[in-house]
């Protein structure tokens, strides 16, 4: 049995709220609690379950959720090969950090690089119900690991609707069978890790009311591809990830449908000063649409009236992050972090910022975090 308990503090500048009302005196509206258990009835079978409770400003109020619950069967398991299948609710193999994104100890910083792991679309990528096949081959030239499978994303909730459609509409979202796959290569001693993740996520919208009081029966297709690279030395690690994120919405309404490609990447360095102290420096960039990187086209098209206006800075985010981690004991850890978002509000949640017109283009985040694990 293992678990974790994390409390965060976020102080942001201007009018930009992160995890609750964070501008005036800061917010303690960020808590993560998780407990898991696993059972190995025989060496080739494992059952695992994890419950999660998250408080995250307006997006989550601590309601318990089933994070994963799966049965893992390894059909082949030798020192250099593994082949098996996981069935149930599984964490999605997405980039380098998604597998354990809610565990503060495993994150490189308080806030994960929002370019790849943004809070807005968390529900779409965190875990899903389905089947995950896995295979691993280890040899003198290195190790190859593949995870691949059909899943149903957890989209039937308000956060996903805000992430996919930008507003909570009368109807509901329903996931079609979607696919995710990650292929990872690492050198024999795993100093270098290279991965590519591909996703094809299809979501249907089931309107409840007739047009024009509701959207039409549309379909959202999200097909991100993520390239990941990490080099691990003894006292430092260098990590970079790059994603192309095509989004295609059709059948909602002529004004609503889009066909855009987002782009995002970060470069991050970690330096382990000694067993207790660790520092992180990162540059993080996120564009919602590669044809409108500065958001000016979107603003010109939508801001003819205030009700529909999407300001230009809501289309991108550029973030310099510097942080420090202190390992108090193996089970207690504290962190402090500063973000200079020198342009853009793309990863701010509408749940915490109902009026996007009130947001400021340039802003800062100061964050503290305390975490316990067992």
């Amino acid at each position: 049995m293992h678990g974790f308990l994390t409390q965060g503090y976020f102080l942001t500048s201007n009018h930009n709220n992160l995890f609750g009302e964070s501008t005036d005196g800061g917010s303690l509206g960020f808590t993560e609690i998780g407990v898991n258990a696993s059972w190995v009835p025989r060496p080739d079978v494992q059952l695992a379950i994890q419950g999660l409770s998250r408080r995250a400003g307006g997006a989550a109020e601590g309601e318990p959720e089933l994070d994963f619950a799966l049965l893992d069967y390894a059909a082949v398991e030798t020192e250099d090969r593994r082949l098996g299948v996981r069935v149930g609710r599984v964490r999605l193999p997405f980039g380098l950090y998604n597998d354990t994104r809610d565990v503060a100890f495993t994150r490189p910083s308080i806030l994960l690089p929002q370019s790849i792991y943004n809070e807005r679309s968390r529900e779409l990528t965190v875990s899903a119900d389905g089947i995950m096949l896995y295979g691993e081959e280890r040899s003198t030239w290195g190790n190859l690991a593949l995870e691949l499978g059909p899943v149903l994303a957890r989209v039937d909730n308000e956060n996903s609707e805000l992430a996919l459609l930008g507003r909570n509409f009368p109807g509901d979202l329903e996931s079609r069978w979607s696919f995710i796959g990650r292929l990872m290569y690492s050198t024999p001693r795993e100093a270098l890790r290279l991965a590519v993740t591909g996703v094809r996520e299809e979501t249907d919208y089931k309107p409840r009311l007739a047009f024009p009081n509701d959207l039409g029966p549309g379909k959202d297709l999200f097909e991100p591809v993520i390239f990941s690279a990490q080099y691990n030395a003894e006292s430092w690690s260098l990590t970079g990830e790059y994603a192309r994120r095509p989004i295609k919405d059709e059948g909602f309404s002529p004004d609503f449908d889009i066909d855009i490609v987002g782009e995002s990447y970060y470069v991050q360095g970690i330096y382990r000063i000694d067993p207790h102290w660790e520092m992180v420096l990162r540059y993080d960039v996120f564009y919602a649409n590669v044809d409108d990187r500065d958001g000016s086209k979107t603003e010109a098209a939508t801001c003819t009236e205030a009700a529909t206006c999407i300001p230009s800075h809501f289309q991108f985010a550029k973030d310099w992050t510097v942080g420090v981690r202190y390992n108090i004991t193996p089970s207690w850890m504290a962190r402090a972090e500063y973000h200079n978002v020198y342009g853009g509000t793309l990863y701010l949640l509408p749940q915490d910022n109902p009026d996007v017109l009130a947001l400021d283009k340039k802003w800062d985040i100061f964050a503290l975090l305390l975490s316990y694990r067992f």
Binding site: S38, V40, P43, Q46, A48, D72
Partner: protein, 230 residues
């Protein structure tokens, strides 16, 4: 020899990036010189530094110049002589329960799979039970780097991924090296010599067949067997 848990006043750093368990004529010379001269050896980030002991323990007449001269000499000797070899008794070895069906030797590849928690049973189907020391323990650091060829932080990352994504289990934690033989053997409390008979000992060992861990050679006793790595 450098003491890991030094006597009073020995400011031996326990950096996980550098195991303390090295023995060298140079180190011995300094170690012997330490109490009188008021200097200590500090190993940090792969550098040997000679520092003054804390003021209360240092002689009143020790000056800065002597301090830096000694530092320079130590570094100079290290550069000339190369890195000192690990003394045999400090060498970290793979230790198994005598009833573990591991065969006569084990390959590095198999060890990587076992300590990476990707191989869960021995060839005959016996479940593998993996025991590890804390991440910062010098013996764990030495085992990770010298035998597995990875850094402790990489192992921790891999184990956390298994535990917190439900795809595997973490190894069993052992608080310190002294406890390791008992955990691997599955024999607590009574030392083997006070067990009634060899047969009784064999019976007890068999209950934890499949156990594997690691120890410095000097900590090996009759409860555990060394599994050579080839």
């Amino acid at each position: 020899m450098l003491r890991r848990e030094g006597a009073e006043g020995v400011v031996a750093s326990a950096s996980p990036y550098f195991p303390m368990a090295y023995s060298t004529p140079l180190a011995s010379a300094f170690q012997r010189a330490t109490p009188a001269a008021g200097f200590v050896l500090v190993l940090r980030h792969g550098l040997v530094l000679v520092r003054r002991a804390r003021p209360a323990l240092a002689g009143p007449s020790q000056g800065r110049r002597t301090d830096s001269t000694l530092q320079a000499w130590a570094l100079c000797l290290i550069l000339l002589c190369g890195w000192p070899a690990r003394a045999n008794s400090e060498e970290v070895v793979v230790a198994v329960n005598p009833a573990t069906p591991a065969g006569a030797t084990i390959t590095r590849n198999t060890l990587s799979a076992i300590f990476g928690m990707r191989l869960r049973s021995w060839a005959d189907g016996t479940p593998i039970r993996v025991y590890v020391l804390p991440d910062n323990d010098p013996v764990h650091v030495a085992f990770s780097k010298e035998i597995l060829g990875v850094f402790p932080h990489q192992l921790r990352t891999a184990w956390d991924r298994l535990v917190f994504s439900g795809t595997g289990q973490a190894p069993l934690g052992v608080a310190d090296e002294a406890e390791m033989p008992a955990r691997i053997a599955g024999i607590y409390g009574a030392r083997p010599e006070v067990l009634g008979s060899e047969e009784e000992m064999r019976e007890k060992l068999a209950r934890n067949a499949g156990a594997i861990g690691y120890l410095s050679r000097k900590m090996i006793d009759e409860r555990v067997a060394i599994l050579p790595v080839n």
